[in-house]
């Protein structure tokens, strides 16, 4: 059955391109994660501390982006917006789509984190004379950051893998590069096994970096796999 002979020799020359692709994948994940984090933090803060009327539009945003496929969202940005006179490059469409999608998920994750603030610590702060702002600064935020670090890290890893759909729009990230090289060499098994290894390498690298950061900042247990 398996009488296939692997010929990695043919694809080695393309390795630098794959590594460039892996770098671009990390870049897309990082930028859209940061954008999503901003949206998510703003939304979760508004949901927890903001006026009542703001909850409905935020919930609508979250429901829309967590209940439609990411791919469809980017298609919409890429193919539907030009009709409205807004032209996006494929890179920009992917970045904006992933940012909005991440914003929705990170709103949900952070809203859950915000609700874990412990009343008992707050009361201790109140009787020690902390102002509202000091309670937020010294008690609420550090606690929320610590609680949220692991789920946010996980979402970043998921987003790193999710960048592969950018290939569909012709972005030359890791999967995109693989498709290109495949159409030149037709060594699909070799290419995609190397690509899989590279995805594992970047997610391990990211997990390790995040794990170290977490244990430094928040004393969270370092656990990569």
């Amino acid at each position: 059955m398996l009488d296939y002979t692997f010929q990695y020799g043919q694809i080695w020359p393309y390795l630098p391109r794959l590594i460039d692709g892996a770098y671009l994948a990390l870049e897309i994940a990082f930028l859209s994660f940061c954008g999503g984090l901003l949206i998510g933090t703003a939304n979760a803060s508004l949901l927890s501390f903001g006026p009542q009327w703001i909850a409905k539009p935020i919930q609508a945003f979250v429901v829309f982006f967590t209940n439609t496929p990411q791919l469809v969202q980017i298609y919409f940005l890429y193919f539907a917006l030009p009709d409205a006179g807004i032209l996006l490059s494929s890179y920009a469409a992917v970045l904006i789509g992933m940012t909005l999608n991440a914003g929705a998920y990170l709103t949900e994750i952070q809203r859950a984190g915000f609700s874990t603030r412990r009343q008992s610590e707050m009361e201790a702060a109140i009787v020690l004379g902390f102002s509202r702002w000091q309670q937020i600064r010294y008690v609420i935020l550090p606690h929320i950051a610590r609680v949220l670090f692991p789920p946010l890290s996980n979402h970043f890893i998921i987003m790193t893998l999710g960048t592969s759909m950018a290939a569909i729009f012709g972005v030359e990230e890791l999967t995109g590069q693989a498709l290109n090289i495949n159409s030149i060499t037709f060594r699909s098994l070799e290419i995609f096994s190397v690509v899989a290894a590279l995805y594992i390498a970047i997610t391990l690298l990211a997990s390790l970096a995040l794990g170290l950061l977490g244990s430094l900042l928040f004393r969270t247990k370092l656990r990569v796999i």
């Binding site: 008992s120 009361e123 109140i126 009787v127 020690l128 004379g129 902390f130 008690v139 550090p142 004393r219």
Partner: protein, 253 residues
């Protein structure tokens, strides 16, 4: 004139104090006068309102009637200024410690003096180290609460309360969550404070300790102070049936 003189004599005067959670009355016209340097023990079955008194005093739970005076001045709990004054002069230690989990033992003690009172960090740190060693913690001050035992956390909480140099210390069942072998360390700390003349309200079920350290004991049931008197009297010849029943139950343990 006489009345002013009497209230000036008292450090804390609780007068006809009532409190409600929703429609449920948890404190029913409480009266208690505490002299400077006096240690008053609060005893009573669980749910009788002991914690509620301490919470009302510190402004964590609103009062629905009555008044509290500190050094002869009535505290206005709807004025931020007045509440701040009360909180600057008093400190509360909770049964569950309520330490800041994201700070080390030392930081728990220094944060309020440095950030709230804007005092010199180095001076505060030296004081905090002295306080922590006074409560028997010298090697653990860089640890976080989740790296400390219950008794150690409780002593950090006491040091944190003392760091603001309160005139009045409110202690809510601070040994209830501790393993028996840890209780004596914490009680030693409180004993030392009492002998230094700190005004205290102590909620505790440690009979021997309460007898030794309290000048007076108030027995509570269902939001009322049933009787209040010297420790000997409350334990040996309680006037009220409910006190007698409670004391005999506790002594059997």
């Amino acid at each position: 004139m006489v009345i002013i003189w009497r209230s000036a004599l008292h450090h804390l005067v609780i007068k006809d104090l009532s409190a409600h959670y929703g429609t449920v009355q948890v404190l029913d016209s409480i009266n208690l006068e505490i002299a400077r340097g006096e240690v008053v023990g609060l005893m009573g079955p669980s749910g009788s309102g002991k914690s509620s008194i301490l919470r009302v005093l510190t402004g964590l739970t609103p009062l629905s009637a009555g008044s509290v005076s500190l050094n002869g001045e009535v505290i206005n709990y709807s004025s931020a200024e007045s509440v701040r004054n009360m909180r600057e002069r008093s400190a509360i230690v909770f049964q569950q410690y309520n330490l800041f989990q994201n700070m080390t033992a030392l930081e728990n003690v220094t944060i309020a003096p440095v950030k709230i009172r804007n005092r010199d960090p180095e001076e505060v740190e030296a004081e905090a180290r002295a306080l922590l060693s006074k409560v028997g913690l010298t090697d653990q001050i860089s640890r976080y609460p989740d790296q400390l035992s219950g008794g150690q956390q409780q002593r950090v909480a006491i040091a944190r309360a003392l760091a603001l140099k309160p005139e009045i210390l409110l202690l809510d069942e601070i040994t209830a969550a501790l393993d028996p072998e840890l209780v004596s360390d914490v009680l030693d700390t409180i004993r030392a404070l009492a002998s230094e003349g700190m005004t205290m309200i102590i909620v505790s079920h440690e009979m021997g300790f309460m007898r030794e350290v309290s000048h007076r004991i108030a027995f509570m049931a269902q939001g009322n102070i049933i009787e209040c008197g010297k420790a000997e009297q409350i334990f040996n010849s309680p006037r009220e049936a409910r006190t007698r029943e409670f004391v005999s139950k506790i002594l059997k343990h």
